[in-house]
């Protein structure tokens, strides 16, 4: 066993809860008091202040600083989560986004430059995807999917076509079918072929007058380009159906191929994946939807228009729109960061980023396929999927190896997804990784593979040296302690 190099070396295992740090009178923060304090007797105020902990500022700062040390971010090292595109988050984006912090969305004059940038970002994304129009407001990828499917639903309704089925390949993200359900569709699973991509001939068998759309991810979650995409698009269009593309894997093809040129009618992007905005431990993200001209009338409100009275404006209600999907303008700050990312790289840089992302992934695949099962030999782009088939013989599974990677200082890849590969290990290094880091990862994986043969028990016990050892998720689900009150109901 190597010397463990834990992701987070942290002296203490247990950071107290805020409720445990609390004590009466500890909070001394002075809040601004511009107005004379009255009692506002006309409203039914609660008798007591809210039931929050009382903690000093220094303890708050230490609490969150200590908590942060129990986490791992991409600034610490490679974070090769497949289909998540965990690339470097340029700090210039944070700096620029902070400049709009004080602007209220109803402050029309102050919003002018912001709307101008959003228009430019919109044009940038449309050009990058070969699409005609777009809406920037969806707050995350799944929100974009839902928006896109609502747009398709509306287009069908307007032509009096009551179709219900949406075909979804078995490699798709789980969100696809969940989004379809909310949009009023029924999802139908379509098996992708033995080569890991959807064959037009196989799709044809599923087409009938009830098929509203196919939702495809391209390249798909195996990292394989859907090479029959344009024939698939033709078949769908001939059938009166739409082609929706989940743009989660757009990082493979920026400036290389454009969904619009493939026949895609509607798609979403994940700005927090492809465009370098931080994921924030679970958002905020951003999931703009892009469409071809025919679907443009149905995009959500409001629309940004250049020639409104007083400059650039927002048109609140357009007649054919599906309506609003967000109370304001989506995650504006994230949109701005993504725009800064695009401008930093420029046209050639964006294309080069995709090329390097694919090259990095292929380097890793070349090194790792020698020791791990590679279930699909079809060439891949920015990510690839291994399985635990070889190691399973010795009783070592994907979860063991994922946890062991933490001991080498890496966040594990995406595991057990896509579902078409049992024991999947899905690796996406992104263009951000230098050669040395890629090599270190390949070495670590190789090391784990040999430990699987020599000392499988050590892998079952992984991770060691992390802030906590392997988590008991069953206990959590059976006991459901979801707040402080559950923990200690008397308090």
């Amino acid at each position: 066993m190597p010397d463990p190099t834990p992701v987070t070396s942290c002296p203490m295992v247990r950071e107290p809860l805020l409720s445990e740090l609390s004590g009466p009178g500890r909070n001394g923060l002075t809040v601004p008091r511009p107005f004379a304090a009255g009692r506002c007797a006309d409203i039914p105020a609660a008798l007591n202040p809210p039931a929050l902990p009382e903690i000093s500022e220094v303890e708050t700062v230490r609490h969150y600083t200590r908590l942060s040390r129990l986490n791992t971010g991409i600034d610490q090292g490679m974070y090769p989560l497949g289909s998540c595109t965990m690339k470097y988050n340029p700090r210039i984006g944070e700096e620029i986004a902070s400049r709009i912090a004080d602007i209220h969305p109803a402050d029309e004059a102050a919003l002018q430059p912001v709307l101008a940038w959003l228009l430019d970002l919109k044009a940038t994304l449309e050009d990058l995807c070969g699409m005609d129009d777009s809406c920037l407001w969806p707050a995350a990828g799944a929100h974009g999917e839902l928006t896109g499917m609502l747009v398709i639903r509306e287009a069908l309704r307007r032509r009096g076509d009551d179709r219900h089925k949406v075909l979804i390949p078995d490699t798709a993200h789980g969100t696809n079918s969940a989004s379809c359900t909310i949009a009023g569709f029924t999802s139908v699973n379509v098996p992708s072929g033995p080569d890991g991509f959807l064959k037009a001939a196989d799709l044809e068998r599923h087409l009938d007058g009830d098929v509203a759309a196919l939702m495809i991810t391209n390249p798909n979650t195996l990292g394989i380009f859907e090479q029959e995409i344009d024939r698939i698009a033709s078949l769908l269009h001939a059938n009166g159906s739409f082609l929706y593309m989940d743009g989660a894997n757009m990082n493979a093809i920026m400036g290389i191929a454009r969904p619009g040129d493939m026949g895609v009618d509607c798609m979403h992007l994940n700005l927090h994946k492809t465009f370098g905005t931080p994921h924030g431990g679970g958002g905020p993200g951003s999931g703009p939807v892009l469409v071809k001209r025919g679907l443009a009338p149905y995009l959500p409100d409001p629309r940004i228009v250049r020639n409104a009275p007083g400059g650039i404006g927002l048109v609140a209600r357009s007649p054919e729109s599906i309506g609003m999907v967000h109370s304001c303008l989506g995650n504006v700050a994230v949109l701005l960061k993504a725009f800064v990312y695009c401008l930093s790289l420029g046209p050639d840089g964006l294309r080069e980023a995709s090329i390097r992302a694919c090259l990095n992934a292929n380097y890793l695949k070349e090194r790792l396929k020698k020791v791990f099962d590679l279930p699909y030999p079809t060439p891949t782009l920015h990510e690839f999927v291994l399985s635990d088939r070889v190691q399973k013989v010795a009783g070592v599974t994907t979860v063991d190896m994922a946890k062991a990677l933490m001991e080498y200082g890496f966040h594990p890849p995406t595991v057990y997804f896509p579902l078409v590969v049992p024991g999947a290990i899905m690796i996406e290094p992104t263009e951000s990784e230098p050669v040395g880091e890629l090599a270190r990862f390949a070495d670590a994986m190789g090391d784990i593979a040999s430990r699987a043969e020599t000392s499988p028990d050590l892998l079952h016990a992984a991770p060691r040296g992390t802030p906590v050892e392997r988590i008991d998720e069953v206990w959590a689900a059976r006991n459901l302690v979801l707040t402080w009150n559950d923990l200690n109901p008397s308090r």
């Binding site: 998720e473 689900a477 059976r478």
Partner: protein, 129 residues
Amino acid sequence: MNIPEGLRYTKDHEWVRVEDGTVRMGITDYAQHELGDVVFVEIKPAGTQLKAGDAVGTVESVKAVSDVYAPVAGTVTEVNAELEASPELVNSDCYGRGWMAALTLASTPDLDALMDAAAYRAYLEQEAK
């Protein structure tokens, strides 16, 4: 694999025990093993009428959820309330305290459509291939 004699089995891995006009049912040892640690069981309330093959409830592990189907047509008369607090009984005693529901039979049940222990064992062996 524990497959007690005297019970009847379905291809969806439920078992039934005929008891005097009612049947008691649950999931088999094979099913609980495949599912892993059971964390939650939800069974439709007493009074629910079911056709054979209708979902009578769901059983959840941390990573999976699966429907439990009525092996025969009938009406739910009793639900194992003990599973609410102790879903792990499905793992530790799937044919005993881990039972899920009791049904009264809608008509003379076609129990012959279900497998006996030997047939179920053979079915599992065939499935494994």
